[in-house]
Symmetry: C2
Subunit: 550 residues, 2 copies
């Protein structure tokens, strides 16, 4: 057993007894075999002393039990670490940022408290997964969709609090923005409801976000200021239909116009799905493939040596050869598939309008997609299409899995996820940065990548690293991530989310005016959690007694 | 001169000298004739001791000057009250909540720091008005729209911080939700930038909201936790066209279906403008007319006595007579005009789809609107149409103005603005509440009203009171607002915004768990503003030394 630092075995034992009284003996876990389950399955510290471990875990079933746990923790100065379902793989899983925390596992609080079809909203507890809510809706044949992330076993509350997102309309794709109303247990065990929920018997808790006075919801995301016990979300009314279309552009320089027009069309609400951009000519690959390649050094799929040579040349800035190759072979340089949710008679005309706008790119060609009507008679055969239809899946766990082409399955992965401007210039620049990094790190040449995710107004580009069972490799890769954080910050780019191993470093890059924002977070932390019991260190916020001087 | 309570004349004089050194003598106002300008022009306390008055005003021109002012205020324990342009008429204007504050007037900080057409975003200082930004965009012929509130002379920053809204697409109509990134001077004079702005040289400050770690922006809205000195906003790309259509329903009971279908269509993104609902048969009137009527007791426009009698009967729940009258005369019971922004070939088909959906209401009839293309060749002749085309105006100041039909122009008005669910049932219920209130207050019979404003997922109904020059009338009306707050709270409804006179009462209704949310606000206040110098009392948040026990 790993004791919380500074807590005597006697005090810890007493606290455990109190936890048992609060939630029942069977929901307090202290045996190594149980507590080990709360380690990060994708930990980059496997077998190292820095591996983050819990001292125990406790699984409350109600808000009152959460409050009791927090009271006991304050009494004995025991650090807690709250998780919703702990499925945050690649970003820390269920392991605490600070070893020795008692994990507060909210999985039993999995009630779907309210679903309104007319208002397209839901109120859920933290243990409710996307699968749970999807099944609930499907069983009742309600005409609403959940915007799902990949993968679908995570918690709606946990994902939104971690600033996760999905794949449908921009309005819903930003999971935190699409929330409406919270209930929170504060570090002093007080219970608050935010927005209209603060009004007893409120009729609009899930209909109006702000309530009156300061809107505090945001400070409970990516932080350690409270344990969210209920959260409301806006759902997407089931569209009548879906349509997509693909635009192809022939020249390297066309990327600028392609992204520019795409962005204006999306900001204008005309295309309203998550765009898929790629480069057939550059042989762009998925992040998952990238991570696997870095892990096992798989040679790139056999392709014409001439093409590979032209790609190398393009990487140096001379892409005319690659362009002419593409034109001869009929391979477009860029492609973007854009998507439309709406009435069946409307969506094809939205695409027509988009085609007109994309025609500003000389030589652009188009391919129409097929009209899909909802509800679907059955799930699509291709699981990769699930997220755009609001269907949760675990498809993404094929990342690095064992297969005929990959004899060395990954232990796990970690992402360096960098927010960049939605411009062709930024996409080219981030690729140059990644290429320089790969050279510096002695990694195989990276292919050009387009953003893994188009957020509402920005884009996210990812550099994926494998987590292995080899300590030296893991150490090296951790160092690479620190280096990437530094390289990106120099360009004015920051990360939106990161595993505990890098939280101090990522937050450290947001250093405007001598880290004044972090200091502000710390002043709030000190005021509302004087004993520093809640999730110490999460997103760089340490309680006073554990704080290092900046 | 009114001194800040507890501050000696010597200390105040010293502070004023310091302010003068900081911003220049000509930008510190201490003469009564200057300071009086900061009174609330719509004050409900006119001529009473509770009238909120400033002790002085100071107008900085830069962030550094704001920081200096805050430092001086801390040194001499002088309360400040920050305003953007002070145009918040009906909600307090430029007067402090706590008399004796020095008003920090940010009108000189009126720089438009960045406008991006491609990213449809802007970064502005607090003194920038909707007119300023509109002119800036128009001069440069940029293809972006500003979502304007009524009226257009207010500040983008001030309006968003006060949770104001506008009239275009739901995505932009919620002004606080459409912001991206802030710069804030804290009560200890530290400067922070939020979101991606915390990263030095950030390239995505106006493109990604959250940055990393807790998202603090919300706590600076409707509060006194900081002075916002820069704020980013997302703009609406200029649509190609606009279309509207009106649906008419014949029966009282149809209101439920009408609002239900309307809400699903809006949540689904199919209609994407601000709906106008009315009841030609109930003779529904505007809030402005309501306020004027309450002020001068104007008889309702001459109408058939038979119709008036049928309306009275409908108010008691027997509306069959009114329905048949409408059918005989061809007057529909309800009407809703819904709006569409988008490609010219798309918007009429969105309306077609909406008509199909509204056809579920038996007897529904329709009227097609006209297609409007942008940019407009010239402004519409009807100023009431300005907001839906993103054009700022002062049209709303015709409220209660002198005219041939109104010989007694209003001194001002104050709103009781209540958030209700977007349902027919809630709209009927709020009218019953207003009618009961009017009877209790001995006011003229109120006509039925539909929501003044459809927020994203909720609706806002308004009870307007005139502000007069008669102390007794004002006192009575203040009492009425307190009573309405109470009546609404019993129904589970709260107000979203209110003048200083009612902020304690409105916030007091958000009392869940013994006012735990307010106590949480207070604990943040105490931590970040220990001297309690910033905007004491704003939205019920008082510094420790002025706090009353709940």
């Amino acid at each position: 057993m790993y004791l919380p630092p500074g807590v005597t075995p006697t005090d810890f034992a007493a606290a455990i007894r109190h936890f048992e009284t609060a939630v029942g003996k069977e929901w307090v876990f202290t045996k190594d075999e149980d507590v080990d389950l709360y380690k990060d399955s994708f930990s980059p510290f496997l077998g190292e002393p820095e591996e983050r471990v819990a001292s125990a875990a406790v699984a409350p079933d109600s808000v009152e039990q959460v409050q009791q746990i927090v009271r006991i923790a304050n009494q004995y100065k025991i650090p807690l670490y709250a998780i919703s379902t702990g499925r945050n793989l690649g970003y820390g899983g269920s392991a605490p940022v600070y070893s020795g925390c008692v994990v507060v596992d909210l999985k039993r609080m999995n009630r779907i408290l309210e679903v309104s079809e007319d208002h397209a909203s839901v109120l859920v507890e933290p243990g409710v997964s996307y699968f749970d809510l999807y099944r609930h809706i499907k069983e009742r044949k309600l005409k609403v969709w959940v915007d799902v992330p990949d993968p679908g076993w995570g918690s709606l509350v946990g994902n939104a609090l971690d600033h996760g997102g999905g794949y449908t309309r921009p309005y819903f794709r930003n999971h935190f923005d699409a929330h409406c109303g919270m209930e929170v247990v504060l570090p002093n065990a007080e219970l608050i409801r935010t927005g209209m929920g603060a009004l007893p018997g409120s009729k609009t808790w899930q209909q109006y976000k702000f309530g009156v006075g300061p809107w505090v919801d945001g400070i409970f995301s990516q932080s350690n200021f409270g344990i969210v016990t209920k959260m409301g979300f806006w759902l997407m009314p089931q569209p009548e239909a879906y349509f997509s279309g693909t635009v192809y552009a022939q020249k390297h320089e066309d990327l600028h116009q392609l992204i520019r027009v795409l962005t204006i069309l999306e900001d204008g609400g005309i295309t309203n799905g998550m765009p898929d951009t790629s480069s057939p000519l550059l042989g762009i690959i998925s992040i998952a493939e990238q991570a696997r390649m870095l892990a096992v050094d798989t040679p790139q799929a056999a392709e014409e040596p001439q093409l590979l040579a032209l790609r190398d040349k393009a990487a140096t800035g001379d892409y005319t050869g690659l362009e002419s190759y593409g034109q001869r072979k009929g391979i477009p340089y860029w492609s973007a598939t854009i998507k439309f949710y709406g009435p069946a008679k409307v969506v094809p005309l939205q695409w027509e309008y988009c085609k007109e706008k994309f025609s500003a790119i000389a030589g652009a060609t188009f391919k129409d997609g097929e009209l899909v009507r909802f509800p679907l008679a059955s799930d699509p055969t291709d699981q990769a299409r699930f997220p755009e239809f609001g269907i949760p899946s675990l498809n993404n766990f094929s990342i690095g899995a064992e297969s005929s082409t990959n004899p060395q399955p990954l232990h796990g992965h970690m992402w360096f996820t960098c927010i960049i401007p939605r411009t062709g210039a930024a996409i080219i620049e981030v690729n140059q940065m990644f290429a320089a990094a790969a050279r510096e790190f002695g990694l195989p040449e990276l292919r050009f990548q387009l953003p893994a995710w188009y957020w509402q107004r920005s884009a996210i580009c990812i550099f994926g690293f494998p987590v292995t069972t080899d300590i030296e490799t893991n150490k090296k890769n951790r160092g690479h991530i620190f280096r990437l954080i530094e390289m990106a910050a120099k360009k004015g780019w920051g990360e939106y989310r990161t595993p505990p191993a890098y939280q101090d470093a990522v937050v450290g890059a947001y250093s405007f005016n001598n880290h004044s924002l972090l200091k502000f977070h710390e002043s709030i932390k000190d005021a509302i959690d004087p004993n520093g019991i809640l999730s110490p260190g999460r997103y760089g916020i340490w309680p006073k007694h554990l704080r290092k001087k900046i």
